[in-house]
């Protein structure tokens, strides 16, 4: 009977609606998150590093329990879902009561209610109307809104401040749910990845962080990128000039730097890294026509003899030197050594490069091969060429690393954050304070002005305010023949006189 079908939702509701369940769930989230920071996590850590840190069996079990990727594990998501559910159920359960309190504040006083109040005081008065009027004046003077409660037997005043703070806790919890919702939307519909572009390159493919690639609805072109350094060599600034290309047209362009992304159609492109491709983009040389050999004839298209001409040679693309002569950068060895009169590669670091140039002359049929060794300031020539070349500089190819992300839920997150800020402010710093004033006949049979008050938090501050208020009422009651200053002097005594 206890496990009847109909009772299951009820039990579930009861369990989830229990604050203790909520706290236990939060504790589990804390433990799981802490584990996630101590155990190396999969997508961030290299597989080799994981293999280094854990033995194969340990790693196997960690993987099986999905402890190597806790924050994306299904059980963690379920846990977060349960936390959200618990917040919803608890809030829904408590909301009606709070709303009743908010919508229909308790304005009237009666004997039992008066007795239970946190702060109360009785001031002797001569007649009801004067007493209440004095209280109303005092309240208004202190900036309290006053409501007169018409009641034949017991006319009274009601005043309150910041009633809204009662609802603040619901705002805070709703904002938390909003943030979770944003996170869930991003988890389901969002994606993030990486795009590496070389200068002049255009791409619409991103490598997803989860693995695989994804095509985006437009292309991005890199129109230049660079790094600026501080004097000590550490990077100061990375920048990339990006352009959004759609149907062959550049429709938007922006120079992005770290901290300032390009946003287009909900996709954000962040400057994440900058690096060398390790490949040669071009070789800058000074070419001087060789006049001593006399094999070439002077022509108008040629520069005057002996004067060098600087030119950049891209890889494997012939460059026209004069009407008939072309030069091609045919081979590049980043780090060379020579053995048996042959050139070999030692490593990929461009520390000791060698370049092979091919000089061709269509008119003379010349086809000369020559090497340039910048580190030795030398050239080696196989055949006689009509030009001599001098090394100037090498342009290394570089790429700009772009982090790409699509987070459709982030606006919910920011909305939630702002709402939470507002909610916390109201919840912590706005105090719901209520004051009741009534003209009653007390137990001794005297007509008195009864003043009572209550605050939902920050009691000592309220005590102080209440004391000031009572001071004001008293001086209003005493009328014009009392100098206000003497009333002020009495203040400390009055505040302490507040009944606890």
């Amino acid at each position: 009977m206890a496990l009847g079908i109909s009772s299951i939702p009820k039990r579930l509701h009861k369990t989830l609606g229990n604050l203790r369940t909520g706290i236990v769930l939060l504790l589990l989230v804390v433990v799981a998150s802490a584990l996630g920071t101590f155990i190396l996590q999969r997508p961030v850590t290299d597989p080799e590093k994981l293999a280094q840190a854990y033995s194969p069996t340990t790693l196997l079990w960690l993987d099986r329990l999905s402890l190597t990727d806790i924050f994306h594990a299904s059980w963690f998501l379920v846990l977060m879902g349960l936390v959200s559910l618990s917040i919803i159920v608890i809030s829904v359960d408590r909301f009606p009561n709070a709303w009743r309190f908010y919508a229909r504040p308790y304005r009237k006083t009666h004997v039992h209610f008066r007795g239970s109040l946190q702060k109360k005081i009785e001031l002797p008065i001569n007649n009801t109307e004067d007493g209440l009027n004095a209280a109303e004046r005092a309240l208004k003077k202190s900036g309290w809104p006053v409501e007169s409660i018409a009641d034949k037997s017991e006319p009274s005043l009601y005043s309150e401040r910041h009633r809204f703070s009662v609802m603040a806790v619901y705002i805070v919890h709703a904002s938390l749910l909003l943030i979770f919702a944003g996170g869930i939307i991003d988890g389901v519909f969002g994606y993030s990845g990486f795009m590496a572009l070389q200068n002049g390159q255009t791409s619409n493919q991103i490598e997803l962080r989860k693995g695989g690639t994804r095509q985006i609805p437009f292309s991005v072109k890199c129109n230049g990128a660079g790094q600026e350094n501080y004097a000590d060599g550490s990077p100061k600034r990375w920048w990339s000039k990006l352009a959004v290309v759609q149907n062959g047209q550049e429709i938007e362009a922006k120079e992005i730097v770290v901290n300032d992304p390009l946003v287009h159609q909900g996709l954000r492109f962040y400057q994440a890294s900058f690096g060398s491709t390790g490949k040669l983009a071009g070789l800058k040389v000074a070419a001087t026509p060789d006049t001593t050999g006399g094999t070439t004839k002077q022509s108008l298209a040629m520069p005057p003899p002996g004067s060098p001409r600087e030119t950049t040679l891209p890889f494997n693309q012939p460059v026209q030197l004069d009407v008939n002569t072309t030069v091609t950068l045919a081979e590049y060895i980043p780090d060379f050594f020579i053995r048996d009169n042959q050139i070999f590669k030692r490593s990929d670091d461009p520390v000791n490069p060698a370049f092979r140039l091919q000089v061709k002359n269509a008119a003379t049929g010349e086809d000369a091969k020559l090497w340039i060794f910048p580190a030795y300031n030398a050239t080696a020539q196989g055949e006689k060429a009509s030009y001599t070349f001098e090394y100037r500089d090498m342009d290394m190819g570089y790429y700009t690393g772009l982090e790409v992300s699509h987070e459709p839920g982030q606006w919910l997150v920011w909305g939630g954050v702002l709402l939470m800020g507002a909610g916390l402010f109201v919840a912590f710093y706005l105090v719901h304070m209520r004051v009741w004033v009534a003209a009653i006949t007390n137990q001794q049979g005297n007509l008195v002005l009864w003043v009572g008050g209550q605050a939902n938090k920050n009691r000592d501050r309220f005590e102080q305010k209440f004391g000031e208020l009572v001071d004001n009422i008293r001086s209003e009651l005493e009328g014009a023949n009392v100098v206000p200053r003497s009333a002020k002097k009495q203040k400390p005594e009055l505040t302490l006189a507040g009944v606890k």
Binding site: L19, G22, I23, L26, L27, V29, V30, S33, A34, G36, T37, F38, Q41, V44, F71, G183, S192, Y230, D232, S234, P235, K236, R237, W238, V257, V258, N259, D260, P261, R268, Y270, Q271, A272, E403, V404, S405, E407, Q410, V413, W414, V417, M420, G421, L424, F425, F428, N458, R459, D460
Partner: protein, 471 residues
């Protein structure tokens, strides 16, 4: 109830020999200042350099700490007057140091762990003065000032040159995020101090304080031994004096050298630190109160050994070369290479001394402190300030991360631990508001919260590296 404490305070007669401590502290401050002044004049350095200002701050914070503790022990109200003046002077020097650095680098000092500590100490000192003047919690300096001193000593050892900002840190959000973090952490520190005082007022037994002190100090030493004990030696990071930085074997792999035999000394220190805890458990188990007396004796031994270990460590590690297990040859090391070992050891000594202060002068302390109700309420209020600050710290961090790393939340260790801190304080607020947790349970919660804060601030940076690698 708050009035009770104040009344008792006024009745307290000025203790005899009340001037002695004042004279001693005054003399040492003057002496240290003159020595520093002569040193600077001789070296021909600039008088108002950042390191000099920081040194002045250190002297005055230490003096304030001594006077606050003196006040705690003797109850001489005059000490507090001098202590708060010393704190104020220290704060002034600290402010000038912050301003100097700000001016020199052209940006607020938030970019490295050194600069973070600089700002943190500044906030702690300011909050101490506020707590004292506004809330009348006069004894709070005896906890926060030693904390400030430990931090300033740590700072002397950390690389302090103004480094240019790496691209990711060049953002206005850096300042907003870090300011909030410092404020939040400092507020948490104050709530911790208040919760500890609550425990004193709430008749939390001396034996329990003893057990916790011993457990804390023991944890520090066991952690050191567990991570650094190397065949009887102690392994410390090698230090390159010319670049003022740790030496590295490879990317992210520090080069360690082994100081022979020092490991054994630390092991003895660890045993001595745990001994009082063990004795406490024996006393509880045998229900024999006399064992607690022995345990108090053991705390003395522990303090003595802690001082010996610290001195031996300082002497052996200071600018000497030792062999490395990973690489042939000898490599230099320096105190500067092990700021956290040193910080942990100094913190251990302070914790033990605070326990002694409590043990000897408990009744005086109780008379001096605000009532437990007041402390409970102020602790709660401090957390009510800290919690929104934590929230905004995380939110601004997330917003900034979204602009820099491409994602507002990437479960980076620092982020995750900030969230855990937030959850712990959220738990505190829930238990207090809806379950009515007051008093001791709430105080435990506040203490736990600060433990998590410290771990998030320092522990994560040094134990769990991630994206948040700057500090």
């Amino acid at each position: 109830m708050a009035t009770r404490a104040r009344v008792v305070q006024m009745e307290q007669p000025a203790a005899k020999g009340g001037n002695l401590l004042l004279i001693l502290v005054g003399l040492s401050v003057t002496f240290l200042l003159i020595v520093a002044l002569l040193g600077t004049a001789k070296a021909g350095g600039i008088l108002f350099s950042e390191s000099n200002l920081l040194y002045v701050a250190l002297i005055f914070y230490a003096a304030a700490g001594a006077l606050y503790m003196g006040f705690g022990v003797t109850g001489t109200s005059r000490y507090v007057t001098f202590a708060s003046s010393a704190t104020a002077i220290g704060l002034l020097a600290n402010t000038l140091a912050v301003a100097h650095r700000w001016y020199q680098s052209g940006r607020p000092p938030f970019a490295s762990i050194y600069e973070m500590l600089l700002s943190f100490v500044w906030t702690v000192a300011l909050l101490t003065l506020i707590a004292e003047k506004k809330f009348g919690v006069r004894i709070i300096g005896s906890i926060t000032m030693p904390l400030a001193v430990v931090c300033v000593i740590l700072m002397q050892l950390l690389p302090s040159e103004v480094r240019p900002l790496v691209p990711a840190l060049q953002s206005t959000w850096l300042h907003v995020h870090v300011t909030l973090a410092m404020l939040a952490y400092a507020t948490c520190a104050v709530s911790f101090a208040l919760a500890m005082m609550f425990l004193i007022q709430d008749n939390f037994q001396n034996e329990s304080f003893l057990a916790w002190t011993s457990a804390t100090v023991g944890a520090i030493y066991v952690a050191i031994v567990a991570t650094r004990f190397e065949h009887g030696g102690l392994s410390v990071t090698a230090w390159d004096a010319s670049t003022k930085s740790d030496m590295f074997l490879g990317r992210g792999m520090r080069l360690f050298v082994t100081v022979p035999d020092l490991g054994w000394l630390f092991l003895i220190g660890a045993v001595a630190a745990i001994a009082p805890l063990a004795l406490y458990f024996i006393g509880r188990w045998r229900k024999d109160a006399s064992v607690f007396g022995i345990a108090n004796g053991a705390i003395f031994v522990s303090i003595l050994l802690q001082v010996v270990v610290l001195a031996a460590f300082a002497l052996r590690v200071r600018n000497a070369s030792y062999p490395s297990p990973d690489q042939d040859g000898f490599f230099p090391t320096s105190l500067a290479a092990s700021p956290f070992l040193l910080g942990g050891m100094v913190a251990g000594i302070f914790a033990s001394l605070l326990y002694l202060m409590l043990l000897w002068r408990r009744s005086d302390l109780e008379a001096l402190l605000p009532s437990e109700e007041a402390l409970d309420r102020i602790t709660y209020k401090t957390i009510c300030i800290a919690f929104p600050l934590l929230t905004f710290m995380i939110a601004t961090g997330a917003y900034w991360a979204n602009r820099t790393w491409g994602s507002y939340w990437s479960w980076d260790p620092k982020e995750t631990w900030a969230a855990i801190t937030w959850l712990v304080y959220a738990g505190y607020l829930h238990m207090r508001i809806t379950r009515g947790w007051r008093g001791r349970r709430a105080a435990y919660f506040a203490i736990l919260g600060f433990g998590v804060v410290i771990f998030t601030f320092l522990g994560v940076t040094y134990l769990l590296p991630g994206l948040h690698a700057y500090a």
